[in-house]
């Protein structure tokens, strides 16, 4: 990585066919923070779930999250702890475009738990801001997005960027 390089594309994909999840693997630890930008049309609809890991995705109940959201009628907040995912959004209409932008801070350190903050945007369900926690001191080198009980539709896009502090 060149000195001064930041907001660097790490990986990107566009789904050629529906898939229940997409996983970034082998993420370099050379950056300070990560930003994931996804467009997330579903095949039918469901919750958009974030998990992560080192070497493999952690499927244990090592996550917690708190969201602030609006559904067009009311604002609300909720949280989950000792959960198996970070609940990051939800879509309800097949093929309708939505997007999710997630910031992972200090993702590669090996001494602290990992936090992230995200914005999810879907005009048929909610606009949502979420903070998440993965209770692991392992560096993040895998990130997975999935739709609970459903699939991302063909054409969904997933791009990961690295932000370098120096």
């Amino acid at each position: 990585m060149a000195a001064g390089s930041t907001y660097t594309p790490i990986a990107t994909t566009t789904l050629g066919s529906a898939a229940s999840s997409y996983t970034f693997t082998g993420i370099s630890s050379a950056y300070t923070d990560l930003i994931l930008v996804a467009t997330t049309p579903p095949s039918a609809g469901g919750s958009v779930n974030l998990t992560m890991g080192n070497g493999s995705i952690d499927t244990g109940t090592n996550y917690s999250w708190t969201y602030l959201r609006g559904n067009g009628t009311a604002a609300s907040s909720s949280r989950g702890s000792t959960d198996s995912r970070i609940f990051s959004g939800e879509n309800a209409t097949a093929g309708l475009q939505s997007n999710l932008i997630i910031h992972f801070q200090n993702y590669s350190n090996t001494t602290t738990y990992k936090t992230c903050i995200s914005r999810y945007n879907c005009t048929d369900t909610v606009t949502q801001a979420t903070v998440g926690l993965w209770r692991s001191t392992s560096a993040i080198n895998q990130i997975r997005l999935a739709i609970g009980g459903d699939s991302f539709a063909a054409g969904a896009t997933f791009t990961l960027y690295g932000i370098a502090a120096a």
């Binding site: 660097t8 959201r69 604002a75």
Partner: protein
């Protein structure tokens, strides 16, 4: 260095006569995402602004959550993507600031969803913050982005900049 988060064109700064809108035109399709950052004030007693694409006000909708300093709520707009400016009568020299992030803007096979955050803090009795989901229901690539006040003009020293984010 990766060719990303590149400024497209120049920052627009509104002059002394005000401006009815700020538009970025002939946007190349060579990036992956677009980001517009702005700081605006209106010359009338109204805080609302709008976002449109490709020179046409049709095919946009939004859902947003807002806070006013004393209450929170949520609303939908079936044909508008609202945003915020400070207004005439607000504390002098205060401007709203906000960002539109538009992933996959150049797609010719998908509608465009966007993320929008804005505040119009002005050290007075009321201020607003919006977190907005927006949708441009068109398969056309976005080549023009326009922000405009719903009434009056943008005041002098309002600014907007456009950036391209590239995934490769």
């Amino acid at each position: 260095m990766a060719n990303t988060y590149v400024q497209i064109g120049s920052t627009v700064t509104v002059g002394s006569g005000g401006a009815a809108s700020i538009a970025f035109t002939s946007i190349p399709a060579t990036f992956t995402d677009l980001c517009v950052k702005f700081s605006v004030r209106k010359d009338v007693a109204s805080i609302d602004t709008t976002l449109t694409f490709n020179g046409n006000s049709a095919n946009v909708s939004s859902k947003y959550i807002y806070g006013t300093g004393s209450a929170a709520g949520s609303a939908s707009a079936g044909s508008t993507i609202y945003s915020l400016a400070t207004q005439s009568g607000d504390t002098a020299n205060t401007f709203s600031n906000g960002e539109y992030y538009i992933p996959n803007y150049a797609s010719t096979s998908a509608y465009k969803s966007l993320s929008h955050d804005v505040v119009n803090e002005n050290n007075a009795t009321a201020a607003q913050s919006y977190l907005t989901a927006g949708l441009f229901s068109s398969n056309s690539a976005i080549s023009t982005v326009t922000i405009a006040p719903t009434s009056g003009n943008f005041a002098q020293y309002s600014t907007a900049s456009l950036y391209g984010i590239k995934s490769s």
